[in-house]
């Protein structure tokens, strides 16, 4: 019995020693590409993409698009899923930045104010990073070395929205109409900017038009019901402008169900179904965010930055194009 025990103990000790040696070896040979202060090693052509979450179809689609485009340029893409958890996002990013796997990072931040340390870490390692939002949302006043900001210009979008609404009213309704405004839920990104800009632009373009009803639009089926109810209370609403696709499509559904025509529907967003409706004339105009173009510009910028990490990054704007039936 005791001999067997001794043999077992010896085996255990042996394994432990091998394991320890292995760990030691691994620790010594791991390089994070930064040999302290000297010129950094060549960054890998690997992009880490961290959106808010992969649950919303749009973001899932974006990640697929990024993989495809980067792949076509010979890059590898690591897609992370923080699932709307800010702490998880920074932790995941820090891990991949520390390990040296990432050569560039593109982040749609869950909480911009929590990104401070991660941004600094990326700068220290010379890894270019692109974040969605304006510089001031991250605590900076302007362009930064190694960081590119890419934001949606909600003010410009709102202005375009209001202008198109006014144009449509002038063209089709003699400049005078009751309008329903579909706005985002409280706290949604850019809500205040877009609301203010849209209302101002409408006032300027069609001074006699009046917003008689404001509905919060988030879910298509719910928007359809709510706008239907609003229409019942204001039967003469002839124009609807909504700050997201769900609201616009819901409005179309509501009018269809009520058997009424909606002469002026203006949208901000521009998904495929909306663009199709613009072509067929159901929607007068859509301020369509050009995500495809934005993706390529973002990626191309990151590639450029990788070759010159100390230079200031850009401040990009997601392109938005007003799409009408004419084109």
């Amino acid at each position: 019995m005791s001999t067997r025990r001794r043999r077992q103990t010896r085996a255990t000790v042996g394994i432990a020693m091998v394991a320890a040696a292995g760990l030691l070896l691994a620790a010594c040979t791991t390089s994070d590409g930064d040999t302290g202060g000297a010129k950094p090693a060549v960054l890998p052509k690997t992009l880490v993409f961290s959106p808010l979450s992969l649950a919303p179809p749009a973001l899932k689609g974006l990640s697929e698009g990024v993989k495809a485009y980067a792949g076509s340029k010979g890059w590898e893409v690591i897609v992370q899923d923080p699932n709307f958890d800010a702490a998880k996002q920074t932790q995941q990013l820090n891990e991949v930045l520390d390990s040296g796997r990432a050569g560039a990072a593109w982040v749609i931040a869950v909480a911009p104010q929590a990104m401070g340390d991660t941004l600094k870490a990326a700068q220290a390692k010379g890894i270019p990073i692109l974040v969605n939002g304006r510089p001031d949302e991250y605590g900076y006043s302007g362009p930064q070395p190694g960081i590119t900001f890419d934001y949606i210009d909600y003010t410009a979008a709102g202005t375009a929205l209001g202008e198109q609404m006014g144009k449509c009213i002038n063209a089709k309704l003699g400049g005078n109409a009751a309008v329903l405004y579909g706005t985002g839920a409280a706290g949604s990104a850019g809500k205040n900017e877009i609301d203010a800009a849209a209302k101002a632009a409408l006032l300027k373009t069609a001074p006699n038009a009046k917003i008689v009803s404001t509905i919060i639009v988030t879910d298509r089926a719910q928007s359809q019901t709510d706008i239907g109810n609003a229409l019942q209370g204001n039967p003469n609403i002839a124009g609807v402008m909504a700050t997201n696709d769900e609201g616009t499509l819901g409005a179309l559904g509501a009018y269809d169900a009520a058997g009424k025509a909606l002469p002026c529907a203006i949208d901000f967003g521009g998904n495929d179904e909306v663009l199709g409706d613009v072509k067929s004339g159901k929607i007068y105009a859509s301020v369509a965010l050009q995500f495809q173009a934005d993706m390529t510009q973002s990626f191309d910028t990151l590639v450029k930055m990788q070759s010159n990490p100390k230079a200031n990054g850009d401040v990009l704007v997601v392109p938005a194009k007003v799409v009408t039936a004419a084109g």
């Binding site: 709510d226 559904g253 179904e273």
Partner: protein, 360 residues
């Protein structure tokens, strides 16, 4: 009126002991009128509430509220909630709280959407969508019966169904499903299809629960599963049926939503549980199981839709509606409690004298 005495009441010993024939009891007792009236109010109170709301809004939101067009809008909005609520209610009556309904709805609509997108016939898409509901219900039921906490099981199913729905939809939504308009925005005899569908569902389920042997047993299992088991019935089978009905309703609701917006979306919105539960709670369905009336649940959904509709017409943010509903819910709970106590008090007076055994 409350305390029966004399011939129709207290214990009356018969004259001799052994060898008497079956004593003919005096007229079989009926509950007193006041007790019956109180039970009526408890059971129908929500109808009264709804009628009051209709009157209130008719005056306040005139002239747009009290129109046939608007009634149809309200009914339409209520239908969707009602279908979800029917599933939740049957589940609760059966002693089951099924939290997977948003996922099932999303999955059913994505499966149907995918099939229609590939030009398959409409009936096949609908059939498979409903079948998904049945299958998920079976899975929920059978796993729960192994002894796992049903709430956790359904949360797990929620995650799984949402994930599968997202995979099926390929990360996007499936728009353009105009083939489903016949059960969406189309009207038959002026009434939109979802209203017909919800009405049919409620009629079938109500008849099932109150008139058929299996339905009555289902409700009994929800009330006291052990008691039913001791009568020689397999209670567990009925719990599974409860899960199946719940998921089936969720799948149906998902399909109707898709038909209304002609778009299948994998985004399972957990908010539907909240609205459905609110309608069920307003209807006074006891969370302990074993009791509940589906028509009241339908009225619960109508109450919610009425409030939302009325407030929107008046230009008030519908979020206020949520607050109003909360107040109503608390109010209806208090009313129910008051009625129960009053009924008990009335009955205690009659109970002593009601059971009359023969001689000794």
């Amino acid at each position: 009126m409350t305390l029966p005495t004399g011939t129709s009441g207290t214990v009356v010993p018969s004259s001799d002991g052994a060898a008497e024939p079956h004593p003919a009891p005096a007229a079989h007792e009926r509950d007193s009128a006041s007790v019956r009236w109180l039970i009526f109010v408890r059971d129908r109170g929500i109808f009264v509430l709804w009628i009051l709301l209709l009157l209130l809004f008719s005056v306040w939101a005139a002239p747009y509220f009290a129109q046939v067009k608007n009634a149809i809008l309200i009914a339409n909005a209520a239908s969707l909630t009602a279908i979800f609520a029917a599933g939740v209610a049957v589940g609760i009556i059966c002693g089951v709280l099924d939290l997977s309904i948003p996922g099932v709805a999303a999955l059913a609509s994505c499966v149907c959407g995918l099939l229609l997108h590939h030009h398959q016939p409409v009936w096949m898409g609908l059939l498979l969508g409903l079948l998904i509901g049945v299958v998920v219900g079976l899975v929920n039921g059978l796993i729960s019966l192994r002894g796992f906490n049903p709430i956790i099981v359904t949360i797990g199913t929620l995650s799984i169904t949402s994930a599968v729905a997202a995979i099926i939809a390929g990360g996007y939504t499936i728009p353009g499903l105009t083939q489903l308009k016949f059960m969406g925005t189309r009207r038959y005899d002026g009434v939109p299809a979802p209203v017909w569908i919800a009405a049919a569902l409620f009629v079938i389920l109500t008849v099932f629960l109150t008139q058929t042997r299996e339905g009555i047993r289902l409700m009994a299992v929800g009330g006291n599963a052990e008691a039913v088991r001791r009568s020689g019935i397999h209670s567990n089978r009925y719990k599974v049926v409860g899960f199946v009905i719940s998921s089936f309703c969720a799948a149906l609701a998902g399909l109707v939503t898709t038909a209304l917006v002609t778009e299948a979306s994998p985004a399972a919105s957990p908010g539907v549980i909240f609205t459905a539960l609110t309608a069920v709670a307003l209807a006074g369905v006891s969370l302990g199981g074993g009791r509940g009336s589906l028509p009241r649940v339908a009225v619960g959904a109508l109450v919610l839709a009425t409030i939302s509709n009325g407030l929107t017409i008046k230009g008030i943010d519908p979020y206020w509606g949520t607050g109003v509903t909360g107040v109503l819910l608390l109010g209806s709970l208090s009313l129910e409690r008051w009625i129960s106590m009053t009924v008990s008090n009335r009955l205690i007076a009659t109970a002593q004298a009601s059971v009359h055994t023969g001689t000794r």
